[in-house]
């Protein structure tokens, strides 16, 4: 496991904690209902917020549960909208086609 020293602030410490968590979570336990080490009960996303993000609850209901979390996820959603417009580089198709042999191999 990685040593932890010279933690400069809470964010860095949380990243270190969660990194440790991700190393163990990489083993096949990802689907188990166990807490992520480094993520405390206080960090748990409110059920209403999770449901709102899944389209199963209204924003009002989510805000009533945790207004700050809704503000955070609204910012993430805006950033994700921008990411969704990203296109593959224009030269990618030409590069792939140039790398292909004359004829595809037939299976079997």
């Amino acid at each position: 496991m990685l040593d932890r020293h010279e933690a400069h602030d809470n964010l860095n410490q949380k990243i270190r904690d969660t990194r440790d968590a991700s190393v163990s979570a990489e083993r096949p336990v990802a689907d188990r209902e166990v807490p992520l080490p480094g993520v405390s009960a206080a960090d748990k996303v409110a059920d209403a917020v999770q449901m709102w993000l899944d389209g199963e609850a209204t924003e009002t209901e989510a805000r009533q549960a945790n207004d700050k979390a809704v503000a955070f996820w609204a910012r993430v959603a805006k950033d994700s909208d921008t990411m969704r417009q990203t296109k593959a580089p224009v030269h990618l198709m030409a590069n792939i086609m140039a790398a292909l042999p004359a004829k595809a191999e037939l299976a079997d």
Partner: protein
């Protein structure tokens, strides 16, 4: 790649295009590249955080798909997605193994180069850095849900797992990301 992005006829026509390629019409493969490169690039970019790596993974995946085109059974888009998704996860495993052998402070933010970082918002850079801390399966589920905008049903179809398992992965990813970033951005 999502159902809303591709007209049903195009999905139906994938097999026709594949037949043409296998019959020797090599250039028809460009139709498949044009049809699927954008959503697959977004997936690879979200998973790796690096445009250069995402491009390499796509190029390798399409070439691999071309060589194995005769083995496609069922939906081509799901088959191709799995090639790209596995390429991303293999890359993440390798980079994680490499970085674990160094001091943790050497780990780059989201694995992007400084030049790539210049084009990103601060939130995007922080999100990539936070996503890089998650297990690949959690990262994959979060990217598919939030960046690619897929439904849980579509994710389950592509990944061959259950809606319940994917919901849990997305929820766990959200918890970790919110814990890391909410204080700064809320």
């Amino acid at each position: 790649m999502t159902e809303s992005e591709i007209p049903p006829n195009d999905v139906d026509n994938d097999q026709d295009v594949i037949s043409r390629v296998l019959a020797g019409e090599r250039d028809a493969f460009a139709l498949l590249i044009g049809r699927y490169s954008d959503p697959l690039y977004r997936h690879a970019l979200g998973m790796t955080g690096s445009p250069d790596v995402a491009e390499d993974i796509l190029q390798t995946s399409f070439i691999k798909a071309y060589h194995h085109l005769g083995e496609v059974r069922g939906r081509f888009d799901a088959w191709l997605f799995r090639i790209v998704a596995n390429g991303c996860k293999d890359w993440l495993k390798n980079i994680r193994r490499t970085h674990l052998s160094y001091d943790e402070d050497d780990q780059p933010s989201g694995y992007a180069t400084p030049d790539e970082d210049l084009d990103r918002t601060e939130l995007r850079t922080d999100l990539d850095a936070a996503l890089a801390q998650l297990a690949p399966s959690l990262r994959e589920a979060f990217i598919m849900k939030h960046v690619e905008g897929r439904s849980y049903e579509e994710m389950a179809d592509l990944l061959g797992t259950t809606v319940g398992a994917l919901k849990m992965r997305v929820h766990r990813a959200r918890e970790a990301l919110q814990a890391l970033l909410e204080e700064k951005y809320a």
